[in-house]
């Protein structure tokens, strides 16, 4: 009968849990809270070897309820979290971290900082791999908060220096924050991961103190270490850093080239294209055409007027100069079977004309050159433009008509 009792207990536990789950999914926080008070009993005989034990369940459910319950207060929430921290040793750090997150989102930065410091000093036996990771995160977030304090002091100092007097104590404090922040931030960004904010803050600190080599090294490591994920932001940060440092065009281009290789649809490709177009080297201009064509392959760029005007400009240049028509031909050859339907359908002509006239102008120019004057898109837009007596559309028509032999050379 004892086993039966155990079985019944287990069954009623499960039933209770499913009621709670139901209530939570229907946003009935009060009902869920009532069931949870019953479920707490399940802690009494917690022999479960399940993936998630009852104490973790109570923590998760309780937190969710307290987030939403109308009568809950931050004080109660904090109290609950403290209890939960003592409930499961294994999850102490995790619970601390979540508590801190909630405090941060609630704007209680100081309380969050205190909690982080407390959690950092916690020791219990040997740390598991997960606990190690959590501890690193706790330190990193503390470093981040230190950075914000540093940044605050820095702003005060800057204001003061504008006024013409310096405050030694504030400066001391600021340096103190710098040291604390730098130590912790430096640690986490060595581990493979996505550490955008930490890297940004760390680089900001280093740049302020003039340690550009270290900053460059950190950014290079973050962007090019193969153990890290292919994060476009890593390249963006590096590019921005190089730009701030006033680096040569060449190194900027090479940084963006790598970004182009991993994310051809990145918004920096417009900058990249303009940079390349200005270049005197043929190879770079060629790359520029490639870049803008590749960007316009993506559905997200379909209605990007800037990109289309970049393409139109470069295509126009090539057509007028009548040099390098083979570039266009090469780019076009892998696209001619689907770009007409993707970009230059009659439906799109109508819609673009209605929604964005300058977009339709740029697109019509490209369409007229790539597909000839018989192209549906060009015909529709130029017709509408002439009907509306817009000068530039008339010019466009003239231009395409004049250069209609180009189409034959591209498509041939």
């Amino acid at each position: 009968s004892s086993s039966e009792h155990k079985l019944n207990f287990k069954k009623s536990k499960e039933a209770c849990l499913s009621y709670i789950q139901d209530a939570l999914l229907q946003k009935q926080w009060k009902r869920a809270a009532e069931f949870l008070t019953c479920y707490v009993e399940s802690l009494e005989k917690d022999y479960s070897r399940e993936h998630i034990g009852p104490s973790e369940m109570i923590w998760r459910i309780g937190t969710e309820i307290l987030w939403h319950h109308s009568q809950s207060s931050m004080k109660e929430f904090n109290c609950f979290m403290e209890q939960m921290k003592t409930l499961g040793v294994k999850r102490y750090l995790k619970v601390c971290l979540e508590h801190v997150f909630h405090l941060l989102c609630d704007g209680q930065i100081d309380e969050a900082y205190q909690n982080l410091s407390l959690a950092e000093s916690w020791r219990f036996g040997e740390q598991t791999a997960i606990q190690d990771k959590e501890m690193k995160l706790i330190q990193a977030y503390r470093g981040l908060l230190d950075y914000y304090s540093w940044s605050k002091q820095k702003n005060i100092l800057l204001e003061h220096s504008e006024d013409g007097f310096s405050d030694l104590a504030v400066e001391q404090e600021m340096h103190g924050y710098f040291r604390k922040a730098a130590v912790n931030l430096k640690e986490i960004i060595k581990i493979p991961g996505v550490w955008d904010i930490f890297v940004k803050c760390y680089v900001d600190l280093l740049e302020f103190y003039g340690d550009h080599n270290e900053a460059r090294q950190v950014l290079n490591e973050y962007a090019y270490n193969s153990k890290f994920p292919a994060n476009p932001n890593a390249h963006v940060y590096l590019y921005q850093f190089l730009k701030r440092q006033g680096e040569s065009k060449k190194s900027l281009i090479s940084a963006l080239k790598i970004l182009h290789d991993i994310v051809p649809s990145h918004e920096l490709m417009i900058d990249f294209n303009t940079m390349l177009q200005k270049s005197k080297k043929r190879k770079k201009r060629r790359l520029g055409l490639e870049v803008i064509f590749a960007a316009l392959d993506y559905a997200g760029w379909k209605e990007n007027t800037k990109a289309w005007s970049c393409l139109a400009k470069q295509v126009k240049q090539i057509v007028i100069s009548e040099k390098h028509l083979d570039w266009i031909k090469q780019e076009w050859s892998s696209r001619k079977d689907w770009w007409p339907a993707f970009h230059f359908s009659r439906y799109l002509a109508k819609r673009n004309w209605q929604e964005n006239k300058s977009l339709s102008y740029e697109k019509a120019l490209v369409a007229g050159i790539l597909l000839g004057k018989g192209c549906k898109y060009f015909k529709y837009v130029s017709h509408q433009g002439c009907k509306a007596q817009l000068k530039r559309f008339r010019m466009l028509k003239k231009f395409v008509n004049r250069h209609s032999p180009v189409y034959l050379r591209i498509s041939g």
Binding site: H51, H102, I188, P192, I197, A230, Y298, A299, F342
Partner: protein
């Protein structure tokens, strides 16, 4: 679309998942995951943080108490798919053996037996025809010349029957005769070699079992909504499968009012297979609808203008079942198809099929599932390919060279052990480079620009893996909504996520993807059962079964009518029912603090408790149509049928020499009753013997009036007994008797064709005849006493029984009398059982059971009666 300036922090590892997994019932609650500075680039006194999960979302509330049917149930009863009981071995012995073991035992032998019985032509056709003359099924001894080339099979059949009867008996000895026979003919009797057949059957059984555990053929769902081209008109088109085999494709115009209402009759196409998936995409103002069945995929075009008929464009046939069909949102008339052999095709209406990949192996590690999926990405020439282990993107222009991994079940995405991809979906309508991947544990949002690292991850806690997903993109500044749906449990979950600009005020920089609001469970189809009017128990059961049918599809639409926003969610069940529910956007109290979200908690019960009058009306209409469609009771509950071919031989019925006159009379009567297909219990006076007054058969001694009355009441004729008792006029009684006899004669002459009764006739056909006549003659004025136990079935012959008709049966059934009739001991029990069937109440509701008749000679009247209801034949093995 800009890439977020900063992503939420996360660790990145490589290799197989390390976290031990398992279904975690509450894993999705109470976690913010990570935080990020919410308004980057703006210097303030204090940084503002936003969580990865838990920020404020929109409040959507159910407008009705339960889902409401949109379409009336189609005619013809739905046949529920196989249940575990159907293919698992169940016997007490086996259960005992299995106690403690988790593995299920498939009932292989029973299924093989079913195959032989259901498809005798396929199993034994040619041998059966060849040996037809050499097997004899009769009872008489074979004559000398015939014996050289003919075997008498009767004994063998008897042995088989006996074996069947002792099924599950631990002391089961194989009859040596059977063993001898099977040994002799195992190698040549079967059309298909037995080993091969068994292999095939076993494979099929395993497949059935695995599809019972998890059926992935429905992935993607077979329901689609084609919204109107201009958002002003509230008329859209619902594309759904229907018909008994779900092989009809319907395009039904639906007007979105308070409750959606169908308009006009649907455009209908009959297809040659069950529709597993309906996929749609709108390109250049036209809808392309892809339809997948196991071996065929087709594509339709629906012009943007409503009312224009859908046009079928192309159909392809595959040798291996297709597992995926998606329609390109970029180019008109482009689709991608995957088959279970691991092949991915790009299918263009103009240029045909282009094979992109062929790999029967899974991508990242070995997994047995042949399921493959493919979808489009932000680049019209790049397609994603998925199997259970992850997703890869490949360029259709150079599929071998250009590819990258988008998602891997592994440490990269922080997966659990045993986690598998269930449904990938391109979220292009919300964000051109985002992707949704669901597994049985979690949902992930991925960005093509940052492969392998999910930008969003959340444990969805659904009880069954989400096979269906639907995206409703939000306008800029509003959240995108994703619906996840499971098949078996009909679960529906509404999630909201954000990927848009944080706000113009903050400088318009893009923020990383966040899950906002709390997940919300929506009504399932089965949930409306409690709001339907109360039903009779068996109706209730039918209804319950119907409403609990696994979900087969999901679609939804957002409707904006000025400031009033609502969401309509359609759910399709395997039975072909489409139910709908409306959620309304609650903007009454815009949440003041960013984290105290939703629920002012004043109303803990957001959805109304009772359906609105309109919904109630809809329920009633649906119910009426349902009961009309399912008037025919389910076919799987057959009344017990007994074979009587071996019940009596002629010798048995001849009996010993010199039986008493009573015995003779009884025997004759028994035989005659059986010939006529009547009932022994309701023995009528015999026409041949003018004075067979029932009284003579009564037990010796004049019964007291009380016991006579009780006997009459027991037999159900209390009313008549009373009449007889009250009418003193003997002449009157004689007159009544004569009248009855005349009626009986008339009835018999109607049935005289059935006189050519052969020993091979089964009881079943008679029962059917009786029920048939009974149904037509059932008079409404019959007193209710008749329905008591022991009374005849509701459809009894139009003859009033005599008061003591039960008595002779008793006499007949006593073992003594049976022995006197020369009926062997073993068979007495059978006979008693046989007769007791009649003593019992009506066999189930008065359904018209199809008769079983594998005999050479079927009386024409009966065959007419029984041929209308055909039932599966179960003749003896091979003959």
């Amino acid at each position: 679309m800009e890439f977020p300036a900063a992503l939420f922090p996360s660790y990145f590892g490589a290799g197989p998942p390390r976290e031990e997994g398992g279904p975690a019932p509450v894993a999705g609650w109470g976690e913010h995951g990570q935080v990020l500075e919410g308004v980057p680039g703006r210097r303030q006194a204090q940084p503002a943080f936003v969580p990865r999960r838990g920020a404020t979302g929109e409040r959507w509330e159910a407008a009705d108490a339960a889902a409401v049917p949109v379409l009336l149930p189609s005619a013809g009863c739905w046949i529920p798919s196989a249940k575990p009981q159907d293919i698992l071995y169940r016997s007490s012995l086996c259960r005992k053996l299995q106690a403690g073991k988790t593995g299920a035992t498939l009932d292989f032998a029973r299924q093989l037996g079913h195959f032989f019985v259901d498809h005798p032509e396929d199993a034994f056709g040619s041998m059966g025809r060849l040996l037809h003359k050499n097997f004899y099924l009769g009872n008489s001894k074979l004559k000398r010349p015939a014996r050289n080339s003919t075997i008498r099979m009767t004994a063998l059949v008897e042995d088989i029957d006996r074996l069947e009867a002792r099924r599950g008996c631990p002391r089961q000895h194989l009859a040596s005769r059977l063993r001898w026979f099977s040994h002799l003919c195992r190698d040549w009797l079967f059309e298909v070699p037995l080993g091969l057949l068994a292999d095939c059957l076993h494979e099929e059984l395993m497949q059935q079992w695995s599809s019972l555990l998890f059926d992935d053929s429905l992935t993607g769902g077979a329901l689609a909504w084609l919204p109107p081209e201009d958002e002003g008109t509230p008329v859209g088109c619902l594309v759904h499968p229907g018909g008994q085999a779900m092989n009809h494709l319907y395009f039904q115009d639906v007007v979105l009012e308070e409750l959606p209402r169908t308009r006009g009759s649907p455009a209908q196409f009959e297809l040659s297979g069950r529709i597993q998936q309906v996929a749609t995409a709108r390109v250049d103002g036209q809808d392309f609808v892809g339809v997948r069945s196991d071996y065929h995929c087709g594509v339709w075009r629906v012009p943007g203008k409503r009312g224009a008929a859908p046009t079928p464009l192309q159909v392809i046939r595959t040798d291996v079942p297709a597992s995926c069909l998606t329609v390109s949102p970029h180019l008109p008339g482009e689709l991608s198809v995957c088959t279970q052999s691991g092949t991915v095709y790009l299918w263009s209406i103009e240029t045909g099929l282009q094979q992109l990949r062929h790999d029967p192996q899974t991508m990242f590690f070995r997994d047995h599932s042949p399921w493959r999926w493919s979808d489009f990405t932000g680049h019209p020439r790049v397609l994603s390919c998925a199997d259970r282990t992850g997703l890869q993107c490949l360029d259709a222009r150079a599929p071998r060279k250009c590819h990258f991994d988008l998602f891997k079940v592994g440490e990269e995405a922080g997966c659990q052990q045993g986690e598998r991809v269930v449904l990938p979906m391109y979220l292009g309508r919300a964000h051109p480079s985002q992707y949704l991947v669901t597994t049985q544990f979690s949902m992930y949002v991925l960005d093509e620009r940052l492969p392998l690292v999910p930008v969003l991850k959340w444990a969805h806690m659904m009880k069954a893996p989400p096979l269906f997903a639907h995206l409703m993109p939000g306008k800029p500044g509003r959240s995108h909504k994703v619906l996840l749906g499971a098949s078996r449990t009909q679960e529906l979950l509404l999630l909201q996520y954000w990927d848009s600009f944080w706000g113009v005020s903050s400088g318009g920089s893009q923020l990383a993807c966040q899950l906002v609001g709390t997940p919300q469970k929506l009504h399932s189809i089965a949930g409306c059962l409690q709001h339907l009017p109360t039903q009779l128990p068996h109706r209730h059961h039918l209804l319950q079964q119907r409403l609990a049918a696994p979900a087969a599809g999901l679609t939804a639409t957002l409707q904006e009518d000025g400031s009033h926003k609502s969401m309509l969610i359609f759910q399709l069940s395997e039975a072909g029912d489409v139910f709908c529910q409306r959620l309304t956007h609650n903007t009454a109290q815009p949440p003041a603090t960013p984290l105290r979200d939703e629920e002012p908690c004043a109303n803990p019960q957001p959805s109304p408790a009772v359906p609105s009058p309109a919904a109630a009306l809809q329920y009633r209409c649906w119910l009426r149509a349902f009961s009309r469609a399912c008037r025919e009771p389910p076919r799987h509950t057959w009344p017990p049928s007994l074979s009587q071919r071996r019940l009596f031989t002629r010798r048995d019925l001849e009996g010993p020499a010199g039986p008493s006159s009573l015995q003779r009379q009884m025997r004759q009567q028994l035989r005659q009753t059986m010939e006529e297909g009547g009932r022994i219990q309701h023995r009528e006076p015999l026409a041949l013997q003018p004075p067979p007054l029932p009284e003579t058969l009564e037990p010796a001694g004049d019964p007291d009036p009380l016991s006579a009355r009780l006997t009459a009441a027991w037999a159900g004729d209390w009313e008549q007994w009373w009449e007889e008792r009250t009418s003193f006029s003997v002449a009157q009684r004689q007159q009544a008797l004569r009248e009855r006899r005349r009626r009986q004669k008339r009835a018999r002459s109607r049935r005289s064709l059935s006189a050519s009764f052969t020993s091979s006739l089964t009881y079943q056909s008679e029962l059917s005849e009786l029920s048939d006549t009974g149904l037509s003659l059932l008079s409404p004025s019959r007193p209710p006493i008749l329905s008591q136990e022991g009374s005849p079935p509701a459809g009894s012959p139009p003859v009033h029984h005599s008061a003591t008709s039960a008595a002779p049966d008793e006499a007949l059934l006593s073992s003594q009398s049976l022995r006197c009739h020369g009926i062997p001991k073993e068979r007495r029990k059978t006979l008693r059982d046989y007769l007791s069937v009649w003593a019992e109440g009506p066999p189930e509701p008065p359904e018209p059971p199809g008769s079983q008749a594998s005999q050479l000679c079927i009386p024409s009247s009966q065959s007419q009666l029984s041929s209308s209801q055909t039932r599966r034949k179960r003749p003896r093995m091979g003959f």
